[in-house]
């Protein structure tokens, strides 16, 4: 009893301290006075950029939540689970779910002094960890511009969507702007001949709310039929969330998805359109995995809202959304947000400090409560895709930079890095994200065209200026826009794997994606003319962007949907000449940038070694496979490389992803460079 009184007194003092501080300066940033520079003991991070009025704790045992609530309720602190529906009673001790059930969110007065409160909480014996509820940011400037060009039928596809011709990021003929380069796209038009997406594949759009009734999105929205046909206000499917029909609003803790509040920008709706706007419906734009117009085609998207007007973006909301995706059918999470580049500089640092998100991501990657992938094409987990960030910094932002996630950089219509993109360690692959200034002139059309909310959103800037988003469709730029290209292609790949009856481990499928690329490094010479932003003053002017720093730093190359489908069709096969020492190009195995990758090793079994009469071990020289068979025959080799940079990420490193590919070598009397048998 005495102990309880002491605790209450201490916490109350912390709250009182906050009120006192408030009287001095109610708008003082929590990162200010008294904030520790480094986390201490149970406190895993700092209060820098954290949300006021809430803090996160991880209990030593999930069953202690009620005891903590009892201890704190007299102080006006409300304890609630971060992951709704996960409690000690509903989870098995020692399970991955039970681990997440230990996380609680404490809500209190926004005037409370966070550092003092964290210090008090870290003294509680039932509290294992204390984490400040940091705010994350969208990887976009959130500006959007209307479509002004006259719609014309695209000549590269049979689809009848009137704006498809303007979506250069799908098929770039080099005409969008003078400096545009043919082929600077995701090459999806060819891929659509084979696959347009299957509804069994679900992509979770973790972002602002997606306008689920948009005429160009509605058909491809995931629908929770148990809730749709259930009783309003009741958790009909007993998943812990009430009325989650098209997803869930984790900010408002509501099934009502929103997209038109002050502070919204249409970001979520734009991202969703790139993944799977409905194709061939004679309306608007196309999505990469948007189907062929028939109702049983196209992947499905659930809207997991973690930004809501000017609210949201806190780590507990994104962590809860990631777990929801894992346990409600999503096989891909599309995440165009994160920390600023440099906030964390190694996986070990991020895992230790951003513990809640790291554990939620691990749960998702490992297949949630079932431990299997939500798509049957992946046997052991799910795929997380993040934007690399728009800080023009030489490293990827976390969480995307972490070992298990795919971090996407952005290139412009000239096949060169966009002026804002992050690059360097942690970046895995590049996709088109658009750029306002590709050259010395401003163009809307060089950005990414996708869906926007049908009702224009007004916002008032700091200077009182009112801006309105374009209705229905619009252009945006950012790694936020590159990221959904990758998610769409990944969803297309999973759909095709289902078609072909192929299954992969998560690592295998990620390796497949990261090696389905075209080369970008050979273009990174000299400079490009674009807008150069001075981060110190946040002003920009037209200038020359030196391309040398980007060499080898944009990931494995630019994603190519066609190559993804081709890799799914079978093991890449190389032909080598008998009796000749030769170097074999590995583009068909590791993508168009194969010669610039860092390779770790080549493995071959004794049987395969003998099968083609090798006299020495095959090795990688100059980015090519050096091999000398002496017999007619075939052999399998396993080659390991690094996707993104020259060192593998994880632990004390920020870096690339280790990718392993199996390749078949046929030894015969001749070999043609193009692979033809004759």
């Amino acid at each position: 009893m005495k102990m309880k009184f002491t605790n209450i007194a201490t916490v109350t003092a912390a709250l009182a301290l906050a009120v006192s501080a408030c009287s001095v300066d109610p708008f003082e940033d929590g990162a200010g006075h008294g904030a520790p520079d480094m986390p201490v003991g149970k406190i895993v991070n700092t209060s820098s950029n954290s949300a006021k009025g809430s803090i996160l704790v991880k209990l030593n045992d999930a069953s202690q939540a009620d005891a903590l609530q009892a201890r704190l309720e007299e102080c006006g602190i409300v304890v609630s689970p971060v992951f709704q529906g996960l409690t000690a009673a509903t989870t098995k001790a020692g399970s991955a779910e039970n681990n997440l059930a230990r996380w609680c969110r404490l809500d209190f007065s926004e005037y409370a002094d966070l550092d003092s409160l964290a210090s008090v909480l870290s003294g509680y014996e039932e509290v294992g960890r204390v984490q400040f509820n940091t705010r994350l940011k969208l990887a976009s400037d959130c500006r959007s511009y209307p479509v002004t060009s006259v719609p014309t039928k695209a000549d590269f596809s049979d689809f009848n969507d009137p704006q498809l011709a303007a979506q250069w990021h799908y098929h770039n003929d080099g005409s969008v702007v003078a400096s545009a380069r043919r082929g600077a796209d995701v090459n999806v038009a060819d891929a659509w001949r084979l696959e347009t997406g299957r509804p069994e594949v679900i992509v979770a759009i973790i972002d602002q709310g997606v306008q689920y009734n948009h005429p160009d999105l509605a058909q491809n929205m995931w629908v929770n039929t148990a809730e749709l046909n259930g009783t309003p206000g009741v958790d009909d499917d007993e998943n812990g969330y009430v009325d989650d029909i098209y997803g869930y609003n984790f900010v408002a803790k509501s099934g009502e998805i929103t997209w038109t509040k002050q502070g919204d920008s249409g970001h979520g709706t734009h991202v969703a359109g790139t993944v799977a706007a409905v194709n061939n419906n004679a309306t608007g734009v196309c999505g990469i995995a948007g189907g062929d117009g028939s109702s049983d085609s196209g992947v499905r998207m659930m809207s997991l809202q973690v930004f809501d007007g000017n609210a949201g973006g806190k780590v507990d909301e994104s962590a809860a959304a990631i777990r929801y995706a894992a346990d409600n059918g999503a096989s891909i999470i599309q995440c165009s947000w994160g920390y600023a580049a440099g906030a964390y500089q190694s996986d070990a640092q991020w895992t230790a400090s951003a513990r809640l998100e790291a554990e939620a991501l691990e749960y998702f990657l490992n297949g949630g409560k079932t431990g299997r992938g939500n798509c049957s094409a992946i046997t052991d987990g799910n795929i997380a895709i993040f934007a690399a960030g728009n800080d023009s910094d030489d490293m990827a932002s976390y969480p995307g930079a972490s070992r298990g996630c795919i971090s996407v950089t952005s290139f412009a219509s000239d096949n060169l890095p966009a002026n804002y993109t992050n690059y360097g360690p942690g970046c895995n692959i590049a996709a088109p994200g658009g750029e306002y200034y590709t050259g010395d002139t401003y163009y809307d059309e060089t950005c990414v065209l996708s869906t926007m909310p049908t009702e224009s959103i007004s916002s008032v800037g700091d200077d009182g200026t009112v801006t309105n988003t374009p209705a229905n469709y619009g252009y945006m730029q950012g790694t936020s826009m590159a990221c959904p290209h990758m998610s769409g292609v990944a969803a297309l790949g999973l759909s095709y794997a289902l078609d072909m009856g192929k299954t992969y481990t998560r690592e295998e499928f990620m390796s497949l994606l990261l090696t389905s690329v075209n080369d970008i490094d050979s273009y990174l010479v000299g400079s490009k003319t674009t807008l150069i932003v001075n981060p110190a003053t946040n002003t920009g002017s037209i200038g020359e962007l030196d391309l040398a720093p980007y060499y080898g730093q944009m990931g494995t190359g630019t994603i190519d949907a066609w190559r993804v489908l081709m890799q799914i069709e079978g093991t890449p096969c190389l032909v080598a000449e008998v009796g000749k020492s030769q170097r074999l190009n590995l583009d068909s195995v590791f993508g168009g940038g194969s010669e610039n990758l860092t390779y770790l090793n080549v493995e071959i079994s004794d049987d395969d070694y003998d099968a083609i009469g090798l006299m020495t071990d095959p090795v990688i020289k100059g980015g090519q496979l050096l091999i000398q068979p002496t017999y007619y025959g075939s052999a399998k080799l396993t080659i390991t490389a690094i996707a993104g940079g020259s060192q593998v990420g994880g632990g004390a490193n920020i870096g690339g992803m280790e990718i392993t590919k199996e390749v078949s070598v046929i030894a015969r009397g001749i070999s043609n460079g193009n692979g033809g048998w004759l």
């Binding site: 380069r181 010479v525 043609n672 033809g676 048998w677």
Partner: protein, 157 residues
């Protein structure tokens, strides 16, 4: 000077005519038809490699439908031009790659009824083909050219 030029011109004309006549006089072995690969140096019959190739030779043009490699599901489509001179086959794929390996020396032809043997001039590798009526429609319809249309043209440095 004019006389020298005249003599050279006449000599050149005769040379061209001579070459033309030689070309016209030589008729190569006729291999038009649809040929299905039976084996290449035991790779298929002895080692059971998953290699399936149809070669369609027309009037100076050829098409190739091939699937090579374990677990590869798709047939690739190639095309190009060829000619026969005597019993030697030479030609190029549509991307400029020469038939018969980088040396482009082609194949020597041996035709025995409905069996065609192509022996690489460069390496001596022997492939046996049998004459068939047509490329199965499911193969012809699904084959795609190995063109990576997203590949941007190489930069001019």
């Amino acid at each position: 000077m004019k006389r020298i030029l005249y003599i050279l011109a006449v000599a050149f004309s005769c040379m061209v005519l001579s070459v033309s006549c030689q070309t016209k006089e030589e008729s190569g072995t006729d291999i038009t038809g649809v040929w299905h690969l039976v084996d290449t140096e035991g790779l298929i019959l002895d080692q059971e490699l998953d290699v399936d190739v149809y070669a369609v030779f027309g009037r100076g043009n050829f098409e190739l439908y091939q699937r090579i490699g374990q677990s590869a599901g798709r047939y690739w489509y190639y095309s190009g031009t060829y000619s026969t001179s005597g019993n030697v086959l030479t030609g190029r794929y549509s991307d400029g790659t020469r038939l018969g390996g980088v040396s482009g020396e082609g194949y020597s032809i041996s035709l025995d009824g409905s069996t065609l043997f192509l022996t690489s001039v460069f390496s001596g590798e022997v492939s046996e083909y049998e004459l068939v009526e047509e490329v199965p429609s499911e193969i012809a319809d699904s084959a795609v050219p190995p063109v990576k249309s997203a590949d941007a043209p190489a930069p001019v440095l």
